[in-house]
């Protein structure tokens, strides 16, 4: 068992609202890596039939397919707090509309320069029917500043309870983390050079198909934990030899050159003090015990 400083963390309310779907290209098509037009649906809104745990591939015309309910800030000032402070495992409560009082949970975070920033939340099928675009929610934000005693790396974007559900172990200062797969640095694409670890994602490239095959990415699912080798998501996002970042896949695949399934960081060590333990079931849906 790991020990944390969870008793010292501030727990505070941040507000969000259910976003409307947005198109990557407001007029016309996105162009895929091999020059084909594509509609590119998937960012924002409510997805009734796409949830954490579903495959990243296989959704027609989809790009960056976000599962469940995509939340955005209530205004320009508040959106930074929503994105930076919300953590996986935080409680989401609907505070307006027909679904007032319903509860969901944060499952992921997405967004970097040029794309809208969203916090992604899971609700049951039954509850989804009562939600509407524009409904307000409140998140009990808890997790920023979380530390694991004896681990010199950093932890981001997770609530204490979610972190504990991962069954982490610490051996000689090395954190052992379950992941479905390891990803080499050359597969990491758009999002490199992006901001700090608590805001925004970095894509695992999901094109061309030869790369997907070479790395065996076909079975990846939204919510999977992955270990990115030589990747440092800390005060920014870049290549650093020997570093390791464990992250969670926030959303689905892309056919645009250099783009793919977005990963946000949960544990980072510049010195490589993280040991990935392969577990094909290492997915947010399992750790949160989500039901459809």
């Amino acid at each position: 068992m790991i020990k944390t400083n969870k008793d010292k963390l501030v727990v505070q309310e941040v507000l969000g609202k259910i976003s409307h779907p947005v198109m990557i290209q407001s007029r016309g098509y996105v162009i895929t890596w091999d020059g084909k037009p594509k509609i590119g649906l998937g960012i924002g809104g409510i997805k009734y039939n796409v949830k954490v745990g579903d495959p990243i591939f296989g959704w027609p015309e989809a790009e960056y397919l976000e599962p469940g309910v995509a939340l955005e800030g209530i205004d320009d000032r508040a959106k930074g707090a929503l994105l930076n402070l919300s953590c996986v495992g935080n409680e989401v409560k609907v505070i307006s509309g027909e679904g007032k009082g319903l509860k969901g949970v944060v499952t992921g975070k997405a967004g970097y320069a040029g794309a809208p920033a969203h916090v992604l939340a899971h609700f049951s099928d039954e509850d989804l029917e009562k939600l509407a675009i524009g409904d307000r929610v409140r998140i009990k934000a808890e997790g920023v500043g979380l530390e694991i005693k004896g681990f010199e790396g950093k932890v981001f974007n997770v609530s204490p309870s979610f972190l504990e559900s991962l069954d982490l172990e610490l051996e000689d200062g090395e954190l052992i983390v379950p992941v479905v797969k390891e990803i080499p640095a050359y597969a990491m694409g758009s999002g490199v050079g992006g901001g700090a670890a608590m805001s925004g994602h970095w894509c695992i490239q999901t094109c061309p198909p030869e790369l997907v095959k070479e790395l065996g990415l076909e079975d990846l699912r939204i919510g999977d934990l992955v270990a990115c080798r030589d990747i440092l998501m800390l005060y920014g996002k870049g290549y650093y030899k020997g570093a390791i970042t464990v992250g969670i896949i926030a959303f689905g695949a892309s056919d645009r050159g250099g783009h793919g399934a977005g990963v946000f960081a949960i544990a980072v060590s510049k010195e490589g003090k993280i040991r990935p333990r392969i577990d094909p079931e290492a997915n947010v849906a399992k750790y949160l015990g989500l039901k459809r």
Binding site: T32, W33, Y186, G191, V192, G193, E210, L232, Y240, G258
Partner: protein
């Protein structure tokens, strides 16, 4: 057998687009890859002592240093046209202010375009002066090389880059070559309007790859990188580009490359040449090493 390049340059529209010299901006400290605050100067404005052919590395507090003059257009629609149409190596002319009539070249495309003028002409330029570009290069193709996409490159500069055809392949002189994993910010974006960075985040790796020796204007090769309708990894692909801005201490950033030629095929081979720099090709500087 060596053959000169043939292109469709006679069919390319040559048209005027306009920008103006933009003022630098600053919002205080930014945080580098290991959490240290940095001033980060270098983008926009006029650099009197930094120009194409100079070393990228080592300017105090530098962050994405843009050599020479930086121009853009304040109108978003007009700026979109400037961004797409102007190419590296295009001729420019100052059309307002004390330096009116002075001529130079486009030497890079970041967010801004970077412009070279003679030192005596640059002394006369003020921020806000308008600079007109003879945009020429969109649609450029090399005959017999349909699978090599050409981007952001004036036909004149293409002809001066020392590229030869040998055994049905383009032989391109380059200063250095870089592996896919080191490519950073700008990844996934559209090669026509923005560069992407060779990361100068990890000291061990930037020493190993010789990044401190890079100069503004150097021609470089990027391995396993495809810059066609987007930019990303493609095993065996190669992209040729030019170094257009300086170092960065931000994670995932570094000297920027505007990409010129890109192919999935084996139609491009490289040869090392320390003088493969656009300052030399445009007649701005003499050879570096003799």
């Amino acid at each position: 057998m060596r053959v000169m390049l043939k292109t469709n340059k006679d069919r390319l529209v040559k048209m005027a687009v306009m920008g103006e010299v933009v003022h630098p901006s600053s919002r205080g400290y930014t945080v580098d890859f290991e959490g240290k605050p940095r001033m980060g100067l270098g983008m926009s404005g006029i650099k009197y002592n930094v120009t194409v052919g100079d070393l990228c590395y080592g300017w105090a507090e530098e962050e994405h240093m843009e050599p020479g003059l930086s121009i853009s257009n304040r109108d978003p629609n007009e700026n979109a046209a400037l961004s797409v149409l102007a190419c590296i190596g295009n001729e420019v002319k100052v059309v307002t202010g004390e330096a009116r009539g002075a001529k130079g070249y486009i030497i890079g495309k970041h967010g801004n375009f970077m412009v070279w003028l003679r030192e005596e002409d640059q002394e006369k330029v003020n921020i806000g002066d308008k600079i007109q570009v003879k945009a020429w290069g969109v649609g450029l193709k090399i005959e017999g090389f349909d699978d090599v996409k050409v981007n952001k490159l004036s036909p004149d500069l293409l002809e001066r880059m020392g590229i030869t055809v040998e055994n049905g392949r383009l032989v391109v002189p380059v200063v250095n070559e870089f592996p896919a994993y080191i490519m950073g910010s700008g990844y996934g974006m559209w090669p026509v309007t923005i560069d992407y960075d060779i990361q100068t985040t990890c000291p061990e790796v930037y020493d190993e790859l010789g990044l401190k020796k890079l100069r503004f204007g150097d021609i470089v090769a990027l391995r396993d990188q495809l810059n066609w309708w987007g930019r990303g990894y493609y095993k065996g692909a190669i992209t040729i580009g030019v170094v257009i801005h300086g170092w960065s201490s931000h994670a995932g950033h570094g000297p920027g490359v505007t990409t010129f030629l890109s192919t999935k095929s084996d139609k491009i081979v490289t040869k090392t040449d320390p003088d493969a720099n656009i300052a030399y090709y445009l007649g701005i500087r003499k050879k570096f090493k003799k």
